[in-house]
């Protein structure tokens, strides 16, 4: 009685498990390439917003390289744009750790002369309606960076207006813009100071990238 019941239950449950797993695995196989394509498109559309197609002739997605910034624990991702074999611009993923509610991930594009081409927010957890004005969907504040550059190591214009800088803060939220400004400043400063590192051919390729 006990044995037959055990056998029956065990086999049925195993059967279901096998079928269910097979189903999941099968779907995964079928959709894998499509998912990869989607992720790629998503990133490309962002990249193309800040590095216009006219400025490059290489495949930005394939140009991905990893670079470890000084004092950073994890490497940052770089996308480098070339036009006729000449380095044109680089888009760098940076993280502003001191957002109002956690880290803000940014993509900062800087051209070969050190001017900001565009900044986009990849991910953030700021208060909706307040800190989320860093998104282009909500406000065009982030475009304030376009065409700016850092002069010297201690450029005190790179701060929000309340702290005496040149960037607006949003009413009610100073911490978020402060964090973004700081992170962009660091990125621009580094790229401007180290073009040889950024455009170096020896950087490792991104592996297993964009597995969100």
């Amino acid at each position: 009685m006990t044995l037959s019941n055990m056998r029956k239950n065990g086999l049925i449950l195993a059967l279901f498990a096998v079928i269910a797993t097979a189903l999941v695995v099968g779907t995964e196989k079928l959709t894998a390439s499509q998912i990869e394509r989607q992720a790629q498109q998503q990133l490309l559309s962002t990249l193309n917003q800040i590095i216009p197609p006219a400025r490059h002739d290489n495949d930005l997605y394939q140009s991905c390289r990893l670079l470890t910034l000084p004092q950073a624990q994890q490497p940052s991702t770089l996308y480098r744009a070339w036009l006729a074999q000449k380095p044109q611009a680089v888009a760098m993923q940076v993280t502003a750790p001191n957002g109002y509610s956690g880290a803000i991930r940014l993509l900062v594009a800087v051209d070969n002369s050190g001017y900001v081409m565009g900044v986009r927010v990849l991910e953030h957890k700021e208060t909706p309606g307040l800190g989320d004005k860093i998104e282009t969907r909500k406000s065009d504040w982030i475009n304030e960076f376009n065409g700016k550059t850092v002069k010297g190591a201690d450029d005190d214009r790179w701060a929000v207006k309340r702290d005496g800088g040149m960037f607006d803060q949003f009413t009610g939220a100073t911490i978020t813009p402060r964090a973004v400004v700081g992170a962009v400043e660091r990125a621009v400063e580094f790229i401007k100071a180290n073009p040889e590192k950024v455009y170096s051919d020896n950087l490792p390729h991104c592996q297993e990238q964009h597995h969100e």
Partner: protein, 194 residues
């Protein structure tokens, strides 16, 4: 390769758990508790049949099988609440199709009119009427549940249902009641927020 191993791993896991469950189902079977007894204990035992069942026990069995809990007028709101707690369902208002919650009554036989037909004795569900054929009958008041099943069978209509007389020790602290007895008194209304 990973596909096959994933499927095998899950299959084996499932097999093991299936075996364990199959084993547990046989070994740890519990007999269900006698819910009918618990329900029966809550019902007021008037055996009046207003619920549509012949007696409280049959109604308890019906509830255990999923019948509504709001069919007992003698028990009223309190009984419904207790049943709702026991059965884990929401308390509903009393189903008025079965009658209204009324004051507690006792059957009284007007003894000089009784002809001794014993019909009420047969009707009484709790044997609370004393008497024999062609002898005058009387109700044992403290055994009467007030179900009024004896009223209808009486051929000479000599049974009355009278409200239980309040005694000082059963008195309900209702200032309105005092006024009924002493019409000249006036209650300063105790304005209670119910």
């Amino acid at each position: 390769m990973s596909i096959v191993s994933a499927i095998i791993a899950l299959g084996v896991l499932a097999l093991i758990f299936g075996l364990v469950l199959g084993f547990a189902a046989v070994k740890f079977r519990v007999e269900s508790d006698p819910i009918v007894d618990q329900i029966d204990a809550i019902l007021p035992q008037t055996q009046c049949g207003q619920c549509g069942y012949p007696g409280c026990r049959p109604y308890a069995e019906a509830i255990a099988n999923g019948d509504e809990i709001n069919k007992c007028p003698p028990g009223g709101e309190a009984t419904i609440k207790e049943l709702a707690d026991l059965m884990g369902v929401e308390a509903k208002p009393l189903d008025s199709a079965h009658g209204e919650e009324a004051v507690k009554t006792v059957a009284v036989i007007r003894e000089d009119e009784c002809i001794g037909c014993t019909k009420c004795i047969q009707a009484c569900p709790v044997d609370a009427i004393l008497g024999a054929a062609k002898q005058m009958h009387t109700v044992i008041a403290h055994e009467c549940t007030g179900c009024d099943l004896c009223v209808e069978p009486c051929p000479v209509d000599c049974i009355d249902m009278v409200a239980e007389r309040p005694r000082p020790e059963t008195w309900q602290w209702d200032l309105g009641q005092i006024q009924q007895r002493h019409p000249e008194a006036q209650a300063i209304p105790v304005k209670m927020v119910e």
